[in-house]
Amino acid sequence: MLSIRNIVKQYAGHRALDDVSLEVESGKIFGLLGPNGAGKTSLIRIINQITAPDSGEVYFKGEKLNQSHIERIGYLPEERGLYKKMEIGEQMIYLARLKGLTRADATAKLKFWFDKLGMESWWHKKIEELSKGMQQKAQFVATVLHQPDLIILDEPFSGFDPVNAELIKEEILELNRNGATILFSTHRMESVEELCDAIALIHKSHKILDGRVKHIRNSYKNETYLVEYTGNKLVFDGTQPFTIVTEMEGEDESHIIKLKLNSSNSANDVLQYLLPKTRINMLQEVIPSMNEIFIEKVNLIA
């Protein structure tokens, strides 16, 4: 769907993007991660043709990015905003027509969305008469009204209360199921694990990590397990097939240990060693969360 190749973007004082390449697969949800000021917005603006890269290329469905693609992309900027004094219905239709829809087509689609999100009574309201959350909802509709193939959302959940954030999340998933590719930037890691098929991590203008979320998390497994057992506290003498990372007291005389396998051992060896000694409640492999990976990678470079 989207292929970003060796993008460099230089601003007066600093380099916002340095040789960044990405592949966004069609029909997937792609997360663009990175701390503030990493260059996410610069990259998004290049994809939207708001700015042009100094070098490098972007391909959209195999074609080099050009003006005709603008109508196939929907963009929700991080800084939200609409014309304050214009009526919502009129404004949405105007924005959709700028994306190439006819007036009739835009009106019909807008009716559908207003109906769906319970916004029917807003049509003749001005933006300044709406609450912040309502404005956000209206802007989301404006982003997807022209049925774009690629939807770019910059921090889509910021500014929504939990109820509306959930609603918007459901809408994003539904749009994705209906074939739209979603690219969104965020630093809310829990939404990444929940939504994204693949991610790229950008830090200090460089891409430092990318791939499918499952693969990334698996690749950051480091043979660490959690074991919970009940009974007397075990004393380890060094002959066990693992090393202890931490030990904790659980409830009801249970104990939790975090352990790391010694090389060439497996989880089975751990169970074999422990089974005769105590009663095991649980053994679980520790898979690092995206949050942990994010912090680890960012700190590594900083």
Partner: protein, 414 residues
Amino acid sequence: MKKVLLIIQREYVTRVRKKAFIIMLLAVPLLLAGMTALIAYVAKDSQVMSKPQVVKVIDESHLFEGKLKNAKNIQFVPANEPLDKAKAGLKENEDLSVLLIPKDYATRQVQFLSKKKPSYTLTNEVENQMNEIALTNTMLANHIDTALLNQAKKSRVNVNAMEVTEAGTKDADVGTSMGVGIACAILIYMSLFIYGAQVMRGVIEEKTSRIIEVIISSVKPFQLMLGKIIGVGLVGLTQFTAWIVLSVIATKIIGNNNAGGIMGALQTLQNIPFGYVLGCFLFYFITGYLLYSALFAAVGSAVDSETETQQFMFPITMPLLFTYLLSVTVLYRAPDSPLAVWLSMIPLTAPVAMMVRIPFGGVPGWQLGLSMFSMVIGFLFTTYVAARIYRVGVLMYGKKASFKELSKWFFYKE
């Protein structure tokens, strides 16, 4: 192109629909009509008395007897009663007054008595007639032929300014030309300011409401800027057209009811080549507006709020203000002076300076052509420069822009 049209449409419609626009549209011609009516009414009222006035004349000198002529609504009657009785009668009748002429009227004051302060027209009439009579009396006393004198009085000199052109001599109505010239200068100066500032405010509004990023993900910044400039410009043209049409209608209606001074003023306007002036006005309004509004748009893009515009506004408005002040003080008196000619060639000052010169009619074709050519080059140039600043500026927030910063933006690649 389709998108630019959409933007023009939005900019135009949202402005034209505003209450303030409609009120302005109607208020100005109404105000003009109202003023015309008021002037006509006042003028009429001061010329003629509303009610017949009777003036009782007590002439102790006997020199004015029978010589005071009745005027419209003024009737002179000899008072066949003593002063005290006549005075008492005044208290009962407002439209009655007493003119008391003492024996030696040349040294003692003539008195005009009435219940209320008499109107200026009335005393003026009395004074004029008495002076005339007194003069004639003095002449007669000194044996001067009054018939000869009356003849001599009629030979008043009128200076008629004539202009020699190829088509022959024609009336050069200098006063009207001056008036129209100054009016044109003021009108073009104000409208460049008003509509330029509207463009700037529109840009700032888009920037502060943050919708700008949504819009320029759909259209190029240049298209947005162009759409806004043209849209606002059309609003200006609509306003002018409506004003002219409504004003003409309004003054026609009022003018018909009480013809006189106003129709006379309109008559002299017809000595001016109306189509030529209007055509030039439209040309200089459009090109001047395009030139300045592009600069205003660039300023709007560079700031985060209207309060920050001051430092950029000053150098932009300087040439305009400078020419405007020169126009209303010096240029209209010397429309063909080297200063006026030069100012009407420089694109930044030409709209105002040239519009002062145009109504005089003496601008050579080559000067007009060169000026118009420089206007077109000028607005193309400022639009190009402004667009390059604008495309960077609209996405810059929280950065205090300076002229150095702006010049950097100009050289940014996309």
